[in-house]
C-alpha cells in the first residue's frame, strides 16, 4: 500500500498545505506584534506626569523654556497619534528611544544585556531537559513504582515552588553553608576573559581560558537550576503522561512483538513520539522562563535583561522599561511562532 511519503502528488500537497499554514501563522503574528507595540506605548502615556517632568525631577531647577525645548526634543508636544506614528516608525528601524539614566539608546542596552540572559536561559532549558526527560520516561516505564511516585511528588513541588525562594534556598545551602558556589554575578574578577560573543562559557572555550570557564560555569549553575526547575517539573509531568499514552499504542506492542530490546522500544519508538507534546509545552514555558529571568537575575545579581528591567523600574527609566517589556513580549510571540511551526513538522497528524 503506498504511504504518504512514497506518493509524490500527495507529498507535494502536504508540503503546500503546510507552507500555507505556516504563512497564515506568520501573518497572524503581524497584528499581534503591532498591537503589543501600541499597547506598551499607550501604557507609557498613561503614567501621571510626562517623561520630561520625571527628568526634571532629577536635575533640580530648570526654566520653562528648557522644559519646552525638551518636550519638543522628545516630540511630546505633538498629538498622541503623531507620537505613536513616530514611535512605530523608529521602532521598525530598531530605535526604541534613549534611556533617561544611562543616556544611551535602549536597543544598545538591551543588546548588551541579552547574551547574559540568553546564556542563563539556554542553560536553564538544558538543565530542565536533561533532568526532566529521563525522569518522565522512567516514571512512565515504571508506572506506580516508588521512584515514579517520588519523582512526580518532587515535580509537583517544583510546580508550586516560588522561583525566588528556591534561588535563596539554593544560595543558602550551596553558597552560605557549603561555600561551593558563588552567590552573585557571572564571573569572578581577574580571570582575564576576552569577550568575543558575550556568552562567557562559549567565549572562555573559544579563547582556551579554562579558569574563566570554571568560574563562569560555577556562577551559572545555581541560577540555571533555579530558573530551569519549574520547567523541568512541567516537562517531566508532560513526558510521563504522553509516554504512558504512547506506550499503549499498537506500534509499541508490535515493536515488542518483533523482539526488539526494551531500551530500543522505549527510546526509539515511544520517546520520539512522546516528545511532540513536550515541544508545545516548551513554547508556553518560554513565557515562564522570561518572567523567571527577572526574578532569578535579581536574586543572583545576574547582569541580564531581567535585572536591567527591574533596575530601570526603580530608576523610573520608562523608555528602558518600555523597551525591555516590548522586547520580552516580542521574544515570547516569536518563540510561540517557532514552536507552532516546529509542531507542524513534528506532528504527523497535521501533515496528513
Amino acid at each position: 500500500m503506498p504511504c504518504a511519503a512514497s506518493n509524490p502528488t500527495r507529498t507535494k500537497g502536504v508540503r503546500i498545505l503546510r507552507t500555507a499554514k505556516i504563512i497564515q501563522r506568520i501573518l497572524a503574528t503581524v497584528p499581534i506584534v503591532l498591537g503589543v507595540v501600541i499597547l506598551v506605548f499607550v501604557f507609557m502615556r498613561f503614567i501621571p506626569g510626562d517623561p520630561v517632568d520625571l527628568m526634571m525631577g532629577q536635575s533640580g531647577n530648570v526654566s520653562r523654556q528648557e522644559i519646552a525645548d525638551l518636550r519638543a526634543q522628545f516630540n511630546l508636544d505633538a498629538p498622541v497619534y503623531v507620537q505613536l506614528y513616530d514611535y512605530l516608525g523608529k521602532a521598525v528601524q530598531g530605535n526604541l528611544g534613549e534611556s533617561y539614566m544611562e543616556k544611551r539608546p535602549v536597543i544598545d542596552l538591551i543588546g548588551q544585556a541579552l547574551p547574559a540572559t540568553l546564556e542563563l536561559s539556554l542553560m536553564a532549558i538544558l538543565f530542565a531537559l536533561i533532568v526532566a526527560i529521563p525522569i518522565g520516561v522512567y516514571s512512565a516505564v515504571k508506572q506506580n513504582s516508588i521512584l515514579d511516585r517520588a519523582s512526580m511528588g518532587i515535580s509537583f513541588l517544583g510546580v508550586s515552588m516560588p522561583g525566588f525562594w528556591l534561588g535563596i534556598l539554593l544560595m543558602l545551602i550551596f553558597s552560605v553553608k557549603l561555600g561551593i558556589a558563588p552567590t552573585q554575578g557571572r564571573i569572578a574578577y581577574g580571570t582575564g576573559l576576552v569577550k568575543v560573543t558575550g556568552f562567557y562559557v562559549f567565549d572562555s572555550i573559544l579563547t582556551g581560558n579554562w579558569a574563566a570557564l570554571r568560574s563562569s560555569l560555577a556562577h551559572l549553575i545555581l541560577p540555571a537550576i533555579t530558573l530551569g526547575s519549574p520547567t523541568a517539573a512541567v516537562v517531566a509531568r508532560v513526558v510521563r503522561s504522553s509516554m504512558l499514552e504512547v506506550m499503549r499504542q499498537d506500534y509499541i506492542v508490535l515493536a515488542r512483538a518483533k523482539g526488539l530490546r526494551e531500551f530500543r522500544v522505549v527510546v526509539r519508538h515511544a520517546l520520539r513520539n512522546a516528545l511532540i507534546p513536550t515541544v508545545t509545552v516548551l513554547g508556553t514555558e518560554v513565557g515562564a522562563l522570561l518572567g523567571g529571568n527577572m526574578i532569578v537575575e535579581t536574586v543572583f545579581g545576574w547582569p541580564g535583561l531581567g535585572r536591567l528591567a527591574v533596575t530601570a523600574i526603580f530608576n523610573r527609566d520608562y523608555p528602558l522599561v518600555q523597551g525591555v517589556v516590548m522586547f520580552y513580549a516580542l521574544v515570547f510571540v516569536m518563540a510561540n511562532l517557532g514552536v507552532d511551526i516546529l509542531y507542524t513538522y513534528l506532528n504527523p497528524k497535521i501533515s496528513l
Binding site: 498591537g35 503589543v36 516560588p162 534556598l169 522570561l290 522599561v321
Partner: protein, 311 residues
C-alpha cells in the same frame, strides 16, 4: 409508581422550593466531600487551605504580637529551637525586631486576599465576557478575542511587572495588574464551553420554547460550565499567590512594613549569613499554601473530569 407514592410525603416543609434547593445543595456538598475522601491529597489540600483561611481571619486573636511592632533590642532573634531563641518569639524576629510568626500569620491575609480577589474578579469579568462572546459570537466576540490574543502575547509576570512599574506599588494596583491579564484564561475557557454547550439539545429546546437569551445563558448554560470554571479558578489561585509574592519580592507589590511573604523574603536576603530564618520561614508558609491549593485543584479536576474518573 414510586414517585406517586412519595408525593404526599413531600407535602410540608420539603414542598417549599427554597427548602428543596437548600437540601439539594447540602446533598451535593456531602456527595462532593465523600468523593473527595477517595483522594486524600486533595482532602489534605482543602483542609490546609481552610486552616490558612482561618489563620488569616483570626490573625489578630492568634498572633502573639503586633506584626509591625518594632523592638530594636530584640533584633535577629533565632527561632525557639536554636540557641538564643525564646518562646516569646517562636519563629524568631527580623532585623527590626518584629515577630516573625505574627508577620507570617498576617502575611496569609495579604496572600489570600490578593489571590481570592484577583481570581474572583478575573472569573467574573472573564466569565461574563466569555458567556456573551460564546453565545452571541459576531463582532463583539471578534473584538474580545483579539484583545485576549494581544494580552496573551505577554508573559504573565512580565505584564504584571510592567503594569506595576507604571502604576506604582500598592494593594489595589496589585489586584488590577493581576486581573488585567488574569481574565483572559477564564474568558477563553467559558467562551469555548459555551460554544460547545450551545450546540446541545437542551439549549436548542430552551430556544424553541421561547426562553429569553439571558435565562438560557444563566439558567441553562452556566450551571453546566461552572464546574470547569471552579477547577481553573482553584488552580489559578495558587498561581496568583505566587505572582503576588514575586511582585512583592521585587519591591513592586505590597510594601514593608505591611507583612507580605514576598517582601519578607526579600528583606531577609541580606541576612542569610547570620539569620537564615527571615527569608526561609515565610517561604515555607508560601510553599505549603500554594502546594495545598494545587493539590486541591488537581483533585477537583480529577473529580470533574469523567475520563479520569473512568480510568
Amino acid at each position: 409508581m414510586s414517585k406517586n407514592n412519595s408525593a404526599p410525603a413531600l407535602a410540608g416543609p420539603s414542598a417549599d422550593p427554597r427548602f428543596r434547593a437548600v437540601r439539594r445543595r447540602m446533598h451535593r456538598l456531602l456527595e462532593f466531600l465523600t468523593e473527595l475522601k477517595g483522594n486524600p491529597a486533595a482532602l489534605i489540600g482543602l483542609l490546609v487551605l481552610l486552616f490558612y483561611i482561618g489563620m488569616a481571619a483570626f490573625a489578630p486573636i492568634i498572633s502573639p504580637h503586633s506584626p509591625v511592632r518594632i523592638h530594636l533590642d530584640e533584633r535577629l532573634l533565632p527561632p525557639f529551637w536554636l540557641p538564643g531563641g525564646t518562646l516569646n518569639h517562636p519563629l524568631g524576629t527580623d532585623v527590626l525586631g518584629m515577630d516573625l510568626l505574627s508577620r507570617i500569620i498576617y502575611g496569609a491575609r495579604i496572600s489570600l486576599a490578593v489571590g481570592f480577589l484577583s481570581v474572583g474578579i478575573s472569573v467574573i469579568f472573564g466569565g461574563i465576557l466569555g458567556l456573551l462572546a460564546g453565545y452571541f459570537r459576531g463582532l463583539f466576540d471578534e473584538i474580545i478575542c483579539r484583545a485576549a490574543d494581544l494580552l496573551l502575547a505577554f508573559p504573565f509576570l512580565i505584564f504584571a511587572i510592567g503594569v506595576m512599574a507604571f502604576m506604582g506599588p500598592g494593594f489595589v494596583n496589585l489586584i488590577l495588574a493581576l486581573t488585567f491579564k488574569g481574565w483572559v484564561e477564564f474568558f477563553r475557557l467559558v467562551r469555548g464551553e459555551v460554544m460547545a454547550e450551545k450546540t446541545k439539545e437542551y439549549v436548542e429546546a430552551a430556544n424553541a420554547l421561547g426562553v429569553s437569551h439571558l435565562r438560557t445563558i444563566l439558567g441553562e448554560i452556566l450551571p453546566n460550565i461552572i464546574h470547569s470554571v471552579t477547577v481553573l479558578g482553584t488552580l489559578r489561585l495558587g498561581y496568583m499567590i505566587i505572582m503576588e509574592a514575586s511582585l512583592s519580592f521585587l519591591g513592586l507589590g505590597i510594601q514593608p512594613p505591611t507583612p507580605a511573604w514576598g517582601s519578607m523574603i526579600n528583606a531577609g536576603r541580606d541576612y542569610m549569613m547570620n539569620a537564615w530564618w527571615i527569608a526561609t520561614l515565610p517561604g515555607i508558609a508560601l510553599l505549603i499554601l500554594v502546594l495545598c491549593i494545587n493539590l486541591f485543584g488537581e483533585g477537583l479536576r480529577d473529580l470533574s473530569d469523567p475520563r479520569l474518573k473512568r480510568n
